[in-house]
Amino acid sequence: MAPIGTLHYLVVAAALFILGVIGVLTRRNVVIVLMSIELILNAVNLNLVAFSRLWGLHGQVFAIFVITDAAAEAAVGLGILIAFFRNKETVNVDEVDLLKW
């Protein structure tokens, strides 16, 4: 087997990204959509850290910032979900249509 190089990690990150995109586009449950977004962010992080092994520590610092922002976004997103659930009693994405004409 070939020694594990950067390309292997990039392929894994791409596969994770595709899985996250499928989750966001096809699931109905808001919580699972948010978890798929976390998958996408993780794939990006893996990409960054894989490249930082080649080109210096900047990738790792950026990955730390991405994790911090993912935490903030998850908190706010779940807050919105709780507020919405209190009004409409459902977690179906299709029912979030109050602003539709």
């Binding site: 594990i4 586009l25 096809t26 699931r27 449950n29 893996l46 850290v49 790792q60 709780i82």
Partner: protein, 169 residues
């Protein structure tokens, strides 16, 4: 520090990550999805350790697996999901979504095949014993501004989450 059994650990950890990713988007029960995501995040921390990034691995375990997923589990428990488990799980437009994702995957494959020369196989091993110190120097030196903005962002997120989740403002 000599790496041990790199190939085995890489395939094992990345297989675990991808498998848990599949379970996240497949399972009906959100608690099962959250559990699968936790295992995926821990496996990814192992991948970071293999990439000579111990600090990012530690941050991933503490923040992602130990913080964000606890938040998710709390919200799943607060939101009563019993009824939603008996409904349809996938969208009406799941075919189009799948096609779009497959197209994106094809794009990735094209990019990686064409640009293979840009990702060299032979890689210098970075020093692992002073990783935290070097990241600290960079974080408080070069990226100080971004660091302060990130802390401000967290403050805004805390206030926003508290305000939105309160019963009466």
């Amino acid at each position: 520090m000599q790496p041990v059994a790199t190939t085995f650990f890489f395939y094992f950890l990345s297989g675990l990550t991808l498998l848990s990713g599949v379970f996240v988007i497949i399972r009906k029960n959100p608690v099962h999805s959250a559990l699968a995501l936790i295992f995926g995040l821990l496996a990814q921390a192992g991948l970071y350790l293999m990439l000579y990034a111990p600090f990012v691995a530690g941050v991933q375990i503490i923040l992602y697996a130990g913080g964000i997923m606890v938040l998710f589990l709390f919200v799943i428990m607060l939101v009563n999901i019993e009824r939603s488990q008996r409904e349809e799980q996938f969208n009406k437009q799941w075919v189009v979504g799948l096609l779009a994702a497959v197209a994106l995957g094809a794009l990735f494959v094209v990019v990686y095949v064409k640009g293979k020369a840009l990702f060299p196989y032979r890689i210098a091993q970075p020093i692992e014993s002073s990783n935290t110190q070097q990241i600290g120097v960079m974080l408080y030196g070069q990226y100080m501004f971004a660091f302060e903005i990130a802390s401000l962002l967290l403050l805004v997120a805390i206030i926003g989450a508290v305000v939105m989740a309160k019963k009466r403002i």
